[in-house]
Amino acid sequence: MENLIALLIGAPLLGAAVLLLGGRRLDKAGHWIGTLLAAVSFVIGLALFADMLGRSADDRALHQRLYTWIPVEGFQADMAFQLDQLSMTFVLLISGVGTLIHVYSIGYMEHDERRRRFFGYLNLFVAAMLLLVLADNYLLLYFGWEGVGLASYLLIGFWQHKPTAATAAKKAFLVNRVGDMGLSIAIMIMFTTFGSFAFGPVLGATGETSEGKLTAIGLMLLLAACGKSAQVPLQSWLGDAMEGPTPVSALIHAATMVTAGVYLIVRSADIFNAAPDAQLVVTVVGAVTLLFGAIVGCAKDDIKKALAGSTMSQIGYMILAAGLGPIGYVFAIMHLVTHGFFKAGLFLGAGSVMHGMNDEVDMRKYGGLRKYMPVTFITFGLGYLAIIGFPGLSGFFSKDKIIEAAFAKGGTEGWILGAVTLLGAAITAYYMTRVMLMTFFGEKRWQPDADGNPPHPHESPKTMVIPMVLLAVGSVAAGAFFEFAGFVEWLEPVTGFAHGHSPLSATTVTTATVAVMVIGVGLAYVQYGRKPVPVVAPRGSLLTRAARRDLLQDDLNHAVFVRGGTHLTRSLVYVDHTLVDGVVNGTAASVGGLSGRLRKLQNGYARSYAVSMFGGTAVLIAATLLMRAV
């Protein structure tokens, strides 16, 4: 069975290669090839899953070693894979949601002349993401990590003729690179500490080194996670990344890639367990991002950017949960999977709306769409209910567990984290209700597009609708399924699990969660359901204005890094030209001065040279004679 693991990655990789190298003759069939190969990967994943279920809980991990990737004395990086329960969960999520989004893209990208290439990139992404979760060492994980970064870069900037898209792609890659720096430093520390960076030797030997080293590794891993998962302070790229086509936002920037940070932390559970300081920082980052993303989500009028803020916030939940240690890992992953379903569904819904509205993204120009796009409305609505944690739907189960675990952290920290998660839940309910009301309810505020065509909202084609329906089913049922099918037991052998001792009873927490959700929904209804929504955004309060600008993070980045960096490079160019080059040229000039004096001897007259030759001969003869005389 383990030989199939490479095929998991191989199928989409093959697809990417064929589609990207195949040229125009594949334009007609390209999307089908891409979708097929993603589906192949999913089928293999299912087969492996069935096989895994057939084995006992301790014996479920599979390993496959292809060859030694980098064989250098003392440094062995293997091209080797590990498929355990954690990886399995991700494999199914990635290939499953991935396949659905491939199908969706067939319809969504139908009129794009570069659709073949789009599918090539999507396949590349799936392959890289699978590599990321299947790697059995950190270096190979890094390979996948950068691979998804590349795919994300290519897909965000897919519409390269738009300068905004190109800039967003570049920004995403750069910010991710900062995170990658963390990951590579983490690997370096591992190598010098453990002499290896494979999961087994590193995670098995955490007891043999100092807590300081582990904290350093943990913080560096966290930096990497922040970059990839858009956590504060490296979150700024995610909003801009919405410039990419919507399926990309759904697959990469909602369901899978952005959750890689969570995977990384959970995968490195042993390191974090032994480094409480690092864990604390993880929870703080999670908590801050949770609120940050939620606040940003409240202020955005662009439907995708509002959802992006929401993604950020939800991943904040997961990171926070992962920072809680064994009491939270499982729930982080559980929320990750449920989030994968409902957020992908929401994005696909948003894409469907945009599809019908001449690619308009401003929610203030929607309104009353529920009658025109019933299926989209229903699937989007189910996703909405799931994300706000409506009892019984998937978000309810996963988020509730995280809030409970946050309280169970204990001490003041526990209370603060618990309060933050509850507040986050309220804000989530608020902004999601806002999105829902502005898009599907109220009066029509449609505006003609740039060419003057008024929008004719219509339901999307089948290829787009079917994935939405399936994802909606997932959003509804996944939570309950996990809750009752034993997700905790499934993951426990990998991540470990401990029951937290919450100062509040489970019922209290659940009640509070539902209560804050109702408050959030109510507030939003008062603001956006009862009053008509203005087409032009009001000026808003200071906080709103700041939140519209991503809480000024971009401005800070711009002021410090972009402008500062520009000045730095400009001045360095000047320094290089005048100073470094100048010193050398100055030396040359002084030598030149000396030689200028010597050059007067070289007056260009042949006779003058002849004299010196003649004189030189005379001197030579004199020297010879003298030598013989002595």
């Binding site: 007056n603 007259y605 004189g615 004679l625």
Partner: protein, 275 residues
């Protein structure tokens, strides 16, 4: 010829010949470098070379002596004279030095070099002279002896010098020969060109001033008495070989005018007197 001529002990005749001709040779050499005109230099050099030929003969190198006269003095120096003629026979160089310190350095180096050479020769032990008698008679004579060496020991060098000579001859032709790539312009074309350019429609004026000077190297005078270089042929102009007679001509003119003035004045006086 006597076998002893080239032997160790030189005859007093040879000594006399050496001192007389040697002095002339040195004077000739000095004249070569001091004469202002290239023709004179060439002639002095030719003289020195002939003297050297005599010395070769005295030293028993009969073949070389003849070659020196025939080839060197006869052919090479003639070549020099041809070139001097091409460049301008009468052109006299200025011996004024233009490069600062060049002459003093040259003289100093030359003196130092000469002293060193002389000292070197004086230092060497050159007391024994074998004489060429045996060597010259070994193959029956000087020419035969040389021939025996040239066509045996030095045959390769000889062949190579042959090649060198041919190359040099071809090279000289290449250097001086100018390929005429276009058809020579006919007189009509030249005339048309002249009209087109519009500078000198009529033929160039002839050289010479009045009837007194009609040599080709004398520029004709313009009405105001200044010389018109255009009248002199291009080659002479370029060599700078124009004899300028304008000052004399002007002086002549002035004298003429004065004389006519005097004559006129006298006539007037006479007229007044007769009146």
């Amino acid at each position: 010829m006597s076998v002893n001529l080239a032997a160790y002990a030189t005859s007093s005749g040879e000594a006399f010949q050496f001192w007389v001709l040697g002095t002339v040779a040195v004077v000739g050499a000095l004249c070569t470098i001091l004469m202002r005109r290239a023709v004179h230099s060439a002639l002095c050099l030719a003289g020195t070379m002939i003297i050297l030929a005599v010395f070769y003969l005295a030293n028993g190198a009969y073949f070389l002596g003849i070659v020196q006269i025939v080839v060197y003095t006869g052919a090479i120096m003639m070549l020099f004279l041809f070139v001097v003629m091409l460049v301008g026979v009468t052109a006299a160089d200025s011996l004024k030095e233009t490069i600062k310190g060049q002459r003093w350095w040259a003289v100093a180096c030359g003196l130092g070099f000469g002293i060193l050479l002389v000292a070197g020769i004086g230092n060497a032990s050159l007391k024994e002279f074998a004489g060429l008698g045996a060597a010259n008679s070994a193959h029956g004579g000087n020419v035969e002896g040389l021939a025996a060496l040239i066509f045996t020991k030095y045959v390769f060098a000889f062949e190579i010098t042959g090649a060198l000579l041919i190359t040099a001859a071809v090279g000289a032709m290449v250097l001086t020969h100018r390929e005429r790539t276009e058809r020579a312009a006919t007189q009509r074309e030249l005339a048309e060109q002249r009209v087109r350019e519009g500078k000198h429609l009529p033929p160039l004026p002839a050289p010479g001033v009045y009837a007194r000077h009609n040599a080709v190297d004398i520029a004709g005078l313009l009405p105001d008495g200044t010389p018109a270089e255009l009248t002199v042929m291009q080659t002479l102009r370029k060599r700078g070989q124009i004899r300028d007679v304008s000052t004399e001509a002007l002086a002549d003119l002035k004298a003429l005018e004065q004389r006519s003035e005097e004559r006129l004045g006298r006539d007037r006086d006479e007229e007044e007197a007769t009146r």
